[in-house]
């Protein structure tokens, strides 16, 4: 009796897990393996695939565009996420204070985050426009430049411009994450600091900063994933930019797979990107002092 009842319960449990597990199995786990398999092949439509061995990988390491995309992705992370985190910490500290209307500020600064990336990309594309863009208009009005700066068309400006848009979108999100972390710091610690006579900068460095380590780590991870997956914005704003200057790994993968139909090669790049992502995350974890920067969190 007990045996069959346990069996039934077990079966029921597995049944409950089945749908979600199926989705992940089909669309996360299998693709990893499939990518690996594909990366060793040369994809031909209507013909069986050729086995290439490591040819795709060799080609990848020799591909200048691949390294450019790799480099750009790192730049996105360093330029975009790091600056965003620093800005977000500053803003969060300001919003955390008991000033009137801080919820309004909080909502307004957060607002760009959930908006559709395509819409944001189009909006900013027009803001950056050389002739009719608002930014150039203001620059011209202030007399800083004579003619419009071709932000998205010049090799030097394209990447920073796209990074700025990305910062614009994500800083509100980081701000909220850090704000949550700030608000969980017990006041008692600050009061102890006052008793000990610490200066404001010491207070920040020794009390605040370590205790929001966990939030900063979260921002790091989100930032890493964001810079790897910024497909929408780049595709719409520059599509790789003047000569690959804004190309990141994802957009290059997309081009190879669906425009050039080199699916085998694209799979190789995908795997490289994935490994790189894991490495960066592991590095971020190490830098936050391990354990995902966890502090005495109430959980």
């Amino acid at each position: 009796m007990v045996g069959t009842k346990r069996h039934r319960e077990l079966f029921g449990t597995y049944l409950l897990l089945l749908p979600s597990f199926l989705i992940f199995f089909l669309y996360r786990i299998i693709p990893l393996g499939w990518n690996l398999l594909l990366s060793f092949q040369k994809w031909q439509f209507n013909r069986p695939n050729l086995w290439q061995g490591l040819k795709n990988y060799i080609a990848m390491f020799q591909d200048g565009v691949f390294w450019q995309s790799f480099y750009n992705t790192i730049l996105y992370f360093l330029g975009g996420s790091l600056i965003s985190i620093i800005l977000a910490i500053g803003i969060a500290l300001l919003v955390n204070r008991p000033i009137r209307g801080r919820n309004v500020y909080r909502s307004i600064i957060f607002m760009p985050y959930p908006l559709t990336a395509i819409a944001i990309a189009i909006i900013w594309r027009w803001l950056y426009n050389e002739k009719v863009g608002l930014i150039n208009y203001i620059l011209r009005m202030l007399g800083i430049v004579d003619q419009g700066v071709p932000f998205l068309q010049s090799f030097g400006w394209a990447l920073p411009s796209v990074i700025f848009t990305s910062i614009w979108q994500i800083v509100g999100y980081f701000m909220i994450i850090i704000l949550t972390g700030l608000q969980s710091i017990p006041d008692v610690l600050y009061e102890a600091g006052i008793v000990d006579g610490v200066s404001p900068s010491q207070k920040f460095a020794y009390i605040t900063l370590p205790l929001i380590r966990s939030s900063i780590f979260i921002c790091f991870v989100v930032g890493i994933i964001n810079s790897f997956t910024m497909f929408d914005i780049i595709y719409t704003m520059t599509n790789g930019g003047p000569g690959n200057s804004t190309e990141i790994l994802v957009t290059y993968i997309y081009k190879n797979a669906f425009t050039f139909s080199r699916m085998g090669y694209a799979s190789a790049i995908t795997l490289a990107m994935f490994i790189f992502l894991l490495l960066l995350t592991w590095l971020a974890n190490k830098l936050s002092g391990g354990e995902a920067g966890a502090v005495h969190y109430y959980g």
Binding site: L16, F24, L94, N96, R97, I118, L127, L134, I253, F274
Partner: protein, 272 residues
């Protein structure tokens, strides 16, 4: 609160400036969609002169807006519904002890590290072999369940006392009824998160529709916006109107439920 070097006025000033930077682009879009002005010809004005909704009308007919909206809405609705169902089921199951539980949790956690963008090629081939290209369900399929949302439900479910479950079991309640009648009603915030997060992800989804939709009439709103952008690049008025029409639902939900909205998006990150 402990006072800092910077007085309140300075804090207000900085925050105001930053809020301005956040709002100006959005206000600009709003204004241009009403007046379609061209900075090359006229200096910009703060308030829209001669506002009209004609650009919105143009966009409505130039693309089949109703159709695209319908596509996006259907896919999002399906995604939200299945997410709630599947995720609550999984979270409920994870509450028990059973052989292989640690393994399953490990697998789920590691799936979180695999971003969607690393799976696009096989996902495309898979969906193609299912014959689900150009279909609503094909669009929804990869998003029907997300690990983050499962753990959000789990957090909420774990807080429900075991005594409640035992009492229900004694009454002979089956699993499904238990989830529906006990767990879900007690987890309203988790449900809200499970509605908001999947909705935003599916409404804003661009890469996946770009990959699997080739038929004009099955496009979703963001995909349509992108195609519109490449066709009608010069027409700012209609383009901006389209942008507004795409983000309007999200803005609406945002204004209606700010606190819930923000906390949902945060728990999405924190649980990860």
């Amino acid at each position: 609160m402990v006072s800092r070097r910077t007085p309140k006025i300075v804090a207000h000033f900085i925050l105001f400036l930053i809020s301005l930077i956040m709002i100006v682009p959005l206000y600009w879009v709003f204004k241009t969609s009403l007046t379609g002005e061209n900075l090359l010809l006229y200096p910009p004005s703060l308030i829209p002169k001669n506002p009209s909704i004609f650009y919105f009308v143009d966009v409505y007919y130039a693309i089949p807006f109703a159709r695209f909206f319908f596509n996006s809405a259907v896919v999002s609705a399906v995604v939200v519904l299945f997410n709630i169902v599947f995720n609550s089921m999984a979270a409920f199951a994870l509450r028990r002890e059973f052989p292989g539980k640690k393994l399953i949790i490990l697998i789920y956690l590691s799936c979180m590290m695999i971003p969607f963008h690393a799976t696009i090629i096989p996902a495309f081939l898979l969906t193609k072999s299912f014959g689900l290209l150009n279909s609503h369900f094909g669009l929804a399929f990869p998003l029907l369940s997300t690990i983050i949302c499962i753990f959000i439900f789990k957090g909420s479910f774990d807080a429900i006392p075991t005594s409640l479950i035992d009492a229900a079991r004694i009454d002979g309640m089956r699993n499904w009824k238990m989830i529906y009648k006990i767990f879900l009603p007690l987890s309203k915030p988790a449900i809200a998160t499970n509605v908001i997060l999947p909705f935003i992800w599916s409404w804003n989804n661009f890469l996946w529709p770009l990959i699997i939709i080739q038929k004009q009439e099955m496009q979703t709103l963001p995909l349509g916006l992108s195609r519109f952008n490449s066709l009608y690049e010069q027409a700012t008025g209609p383009l901006y109107a389209y942008c507004l029409m795409v983000v309007a639902p999200i803005l609406l939900i945002f204004f209606l439920s700010q606190k819930n909205f923000i906390s949902s998006l945060i728990s999405g990150a924190v649980k990860g």
